[in-house]
C-alpha cells in the first residue's frame, strides 16, 4: 500500500528536478500573455483608451479642425489622421509605463527574476504585448478616422509600407515606456513622467498642425523630433507623396530618417530596459 501511494510522488519530484526553466520563447510568450489578458479582462482599460482616442479625434477633426489650414488641396482630416495615429503611440503606449512600474512595485518582477528563465525574455514579452495592445488601439482609431472622413490617396504598396513603419515605430517606442516604468518606483510616478514626455512630443510637432504655424523658436525642435518625422513619413506614404502634403523632402527621405530614429530609440531604450531588469542590485 505504502509503495503505491508514494511512488507517483517520488516520480513527480524526479521529473521536475530536471526541469531547468523555460526557454526564451516560452518565457517571453507567457510574460506577454499575462499583459494581454490583464488588458482585455479589465473593461475600464479597454473602454477608457477607446473613448479617449475617439474624443481626441473628434475634437481635432470638428472643433479645432476648422481653424487649421494644412495647405492647398489638402483636407485637414487627411492631414490630421497620419499624425494622430503616430502620436497615438504615445497616448496608448503610456499605459505600459504604469503597468511595468506596477509589476515592479507589487513583487511580480521579483517573482519572475527568481525563476530560472532568461531575464531579458520577460521584458521582450512585455514589449510585444504592449506593442500589440497599442496596435489594437490604433486599429480602432483608424476605423474611427475613416468614419469621420479620412481617405487614402496612395497605392497598396505605399500603404503597406506606412503600416510597417507605424508598426516599427510602435515597437521601438514601447521600450521608452518600459524604461520609464522600470525606473519610476510607482505607477503614479511612471504615469507622471510619461505625461511630461508625451505632451511636448505630441504637441510640439507637425502631428496636429503644420510645423510652420508654430512660433519660430519652437520650429527647430518641432521639425527635428521623431514624432514629426514619422508623421511626415506616414503622411507622404498615405496621401500620395511628399509634394502632395507640401513637405520639402522626398518620401524616401522621411521614411529613411524615421527608420534611423526608430532603430536608435530601440537600441538605446531596449538596452537600458533589459540591463536594468536583469541587474542584481
Amino acid at each position: 500500500m505504502t509503495t503505491t501511494t508514494t511512488t507517483p510522488d517520488v516520480a513527480a519530484h524526479a521529473a521536475v528536478d530536471h526541469a531547468t526553466g523555460a526557454g526564451y520563447v516560452t518565457a517571453a510568450l507567457q510574460s506577454a500573455k499575462r499583459t494581454v489578458l490583464q488588458f482585455f479582462r479589465t473593461p475600464q482599460l479597454l473602454m477608457l483608451g477607446t473613448i479617449q482616442g475617439a474624443l481626441f479625434l473628434f475634437m481635432f477633426r470638428y472643433i479645432f479642425g476648422g481653424a487649421i489650414h494644412p495647405g492647398e488641396g489638402l483636407d485637414y482630416v487627411d492631414f490630421l489622421v497620419p499624425g494622430f495615429l503616430v502620436t497615438g503611440i504615445l497616448w496608448l503606449g503610456m499605459s505600459a509605463a504604469s503597468g511595468v512600474a506596477e509589476d515592479a512595485a507589487t513583487g511580480v518582477h521579483d517573482r519572475l527574476r527568481s525563476l530560472p528563465i532568461p531575464r531579458s525574455s520577460v521584458m521582450l514579452g512585455r514589449s510585444l504585448a504592449d506593442a500589440a495592445l497599442t496596435l489594437w488601439g490604433l486599429f480602432i482609431a483608424a476605423v474611427l478616422a475613416f468614419i469621420v472622413g479620412f481617405r487614402l490617396h496612395a497605392d497598396v504598396a505605399e500603404v503597406a509600407l506606412a503600416l510597417v513603419l507605424l508598426l516599427f515605430a510602435v515597437y521601438s517606442f514601447m521600450w521608452v515606456f518600459i524604461t520609464i516604468g522600470l525606473t519610476s518606483g510607482s505607477a503614479q510616478a511612471a504615469q507622471g513622467t510619461a505625461t511630461l514626455l508625451i505632451v511636448p512630443l505630441a504637441f510640439v510637432s507637425a502631428a496636429y498642425v503644420p510645423a510652420d504655424t508654430l512660433p519660430g523658436w519652437m520650429q527647430p525642435v518641432a521639425d527635428n523630433q521623431p514624432f514629426t518625422i514619422v508623421s511626415n513619413a506616414v503622411r507622404s506614404l498615405t496621401l500620395g507623396g511628399a509634394d502632395a502634403v507640401g513637405l520639402g523632402h522626398s518620401t524616401a527621405y522621411w521614411v529613411a530618417l524615421s527608420l534611423v530614429w526608430c532603430v536608435a530609440i530601440l537600441a538605446v531604450f531596449g538596452t537600458i530596459s533589459v540591463s536594468r531588469f536583469a541587474r542584481r542590485g
Binding site: T20, G21, Q30, K33, L37, R41, I117
Partner: protein
C-alpha cells in the same frame, strides 16, 4: 543533516543604511528556519540575496551547496520565492496563474496542468481555481501566491513575511499550508516579525538585528537563554493586585510586573515547580483568592529583550520603516 543555506559575512549597504552587516547564518535541510527581527533588521535583504535578486557587497552565500553569487541560474532552479506582496495576477484565474509560473519553471503544458491542479488541491484552493484572482480575499490571494512559489516543486521555499497583513483566520490557514509543505519535505526559510509565528512553525530560529545574527537555536534553546521561567498570577479581585505583587516579590528573582490590562502579575523565577508551590501556599496563607496561577516558559518576546536589551514589539519607529523600504529598493 546538510545545510540548505549557508551564509558567511554578508554585507549589503543601501546609501547610508547598512542592511546586512556581517550576517552569518546556516539553515539545515529538513526543517523550517525562521528569521526573526524587527522592521529594518535586514530580513528582506537577506531573502533577496538568497533569491539572487541582489548581490551582496561582500560575503558568500551557498544554496544547497551552489554559490549564489557565481551561479545564480542554478540557484533559481532550486528555490521558490513568495515575497511580501501577493504577486499573482488579479486578471487571471488561480489556475491560470499557477500554470503560467509552472510553464516558466520549464514544465510542459501537461506537466503544468498537473502541477497547478495538485498545488491548488494541497492548498485547499481547488474550488477557487477557476475564479479570477481579483475576486479572492487577501488570505486566499496569499495562499495562491504561496502556491505559485510551489508549482516548480522547489527544494527551498523562501517566504518573506508570509502572513503580514492577514487577519487571524487567514494567518492560521497559511500556517497550516506551510506545515503541510514541510511534511512533504520542502525546506522553508521564512521571515517574520511575529514571535508566535516563529514559535509555531520553525524548529530553528535566527534572531537578527541591524543586519547581524545575534542569536540562533530552537525556540526552546532560545527560551533557555532568557534563563528563567515566569510565574503569573491573576487574582479574582482586582483590589488584590497589590497584595499579589507583594507576595510574588518575596519569591521571584526580580520586582514583579503588573499588567493592568490583563489584571495579571508576573515575575521571573529561578527554578520553577518549587516556587510555584510556594506562591500557592503564600496566597493561601494571606487569604488571597486567585483565578489563575501558572508557570510558563519565557516567550520569544522576552528572549528578544534578553538578547538585545530592547523589546521586539511594538515594531518600528519611523527610521526603521525607512530602512525597510530601502531594503525593498
Amino acid at each position: 543533516m546538510t545545510a540548505i543555506i549557508e551564509a558567511k559575512g554578508l554585507t549589503k549597504g543601501f546609501g547610508d543604511v547598512q542592511a546586512l552587516d556581517g550576517l552569518d547564518l546556516v539553515a539545515q535541510s529538513g526543517q523550517v528556519t525562521a528569521l526573526l527581527g524587527p522592521n529594518g533588521a535586514g530580513k528582506t535583504t537577506f531573502v533577496r540575496a538568497v533569491a539572487t535578486l541582489l548581490r551582496p557587497d561582500s560575503g558568500e552565500i551557498y544554496v544547497a551547496g551552489v554559490d549564489a553569487c557565481a551561479e545564480p541560474k542554478r540557484v533559481r532552479e532550486i528555490i521558490g520565492l513568495a515575497g511580501q506582496f501577493a504577486s499573482v495576477e488579479p486578471a487571471m484565474t488561480g489556475t491560470e496563474n499557477l500554470r503560467m509560473v509552472a510553464r516558466l519553471f520549464g514544465l510542459s503544458r501537461r506537466g503544468a496542468r498537473t502541477s497547478a491542479a495538485d498545488v491548488l488541491e494541497r492548498l485547499g484552493l481547488a474550488d477557487a481555481g477557476d475564479r479570477l484572482v481579483r475576486t479572492y480575499s487577501g488570505g486566499t490571494r496569499r495562499r495562491l501566491d504561496l502556491g505559485a512559489s510551489l508549482v516548480g516543486r522547489p527544494q527551498l521555499l523562501l517566504l518573506d513575511e508570509p502572513t503580514a497583513g492577514l487577519d487571524p483566520r487567514g494567518r492560521v490557514d497559511l500556517w497550516d499550508a506551510i506545515r503541510r509543505l514541510v511534511a512533504d519535505g520542502t525546506d522553508v526559510l521564512l521571515t517574520t516579525q511575529y514571535l508566535e509565528e516563529a514559535d509555531q512553525l520553525a524548529r530553528h530560529v535566527v534572531i537578527i538585528d541591524h543586519g547581524r545574527a545575534i542569536a540562533a537555536g530552537t525556540p526552546d534553546e532560545l527560551k533557555n537563554r532568557a534563563g528563567t521561567n515566569v510565574i503569573e498570577v491573576r487574582p479574582r479581585v482586582g483590589g488584590d493586585l497589590a497584595a499579589v505583587e507583594a507576595a510574588l516579590g518575596t519569591i521571584g528573582c526580580e520586582t514583579p510586573h503588573t499588567d493592568m490590562d490583563t489584571q495579571r502579575v508576573s515575575a521571573r523565577v529561578e527554578g520553577g515547580a518549587d516556587q510555584l508551590r510556594d506562591i500557592v501556599r503564600l496566597l493561601d496563607e494571606r487569604g488571597i483568592e486567585a483565578d489563575d496561577v501558572g508557570l510558563r516558559r519565557p516567550s520569544l518576546d522576552e528572549v528578544f529583550l534578553a538578547v538585545t536589551g530592547k523589546p521586539l514589539e511594538p515594531t518600528g519607529s519611523d527610521s526603521d520603516h525607512q530602512a525597510e523600504s530601502a531594503d525593498a529598493a
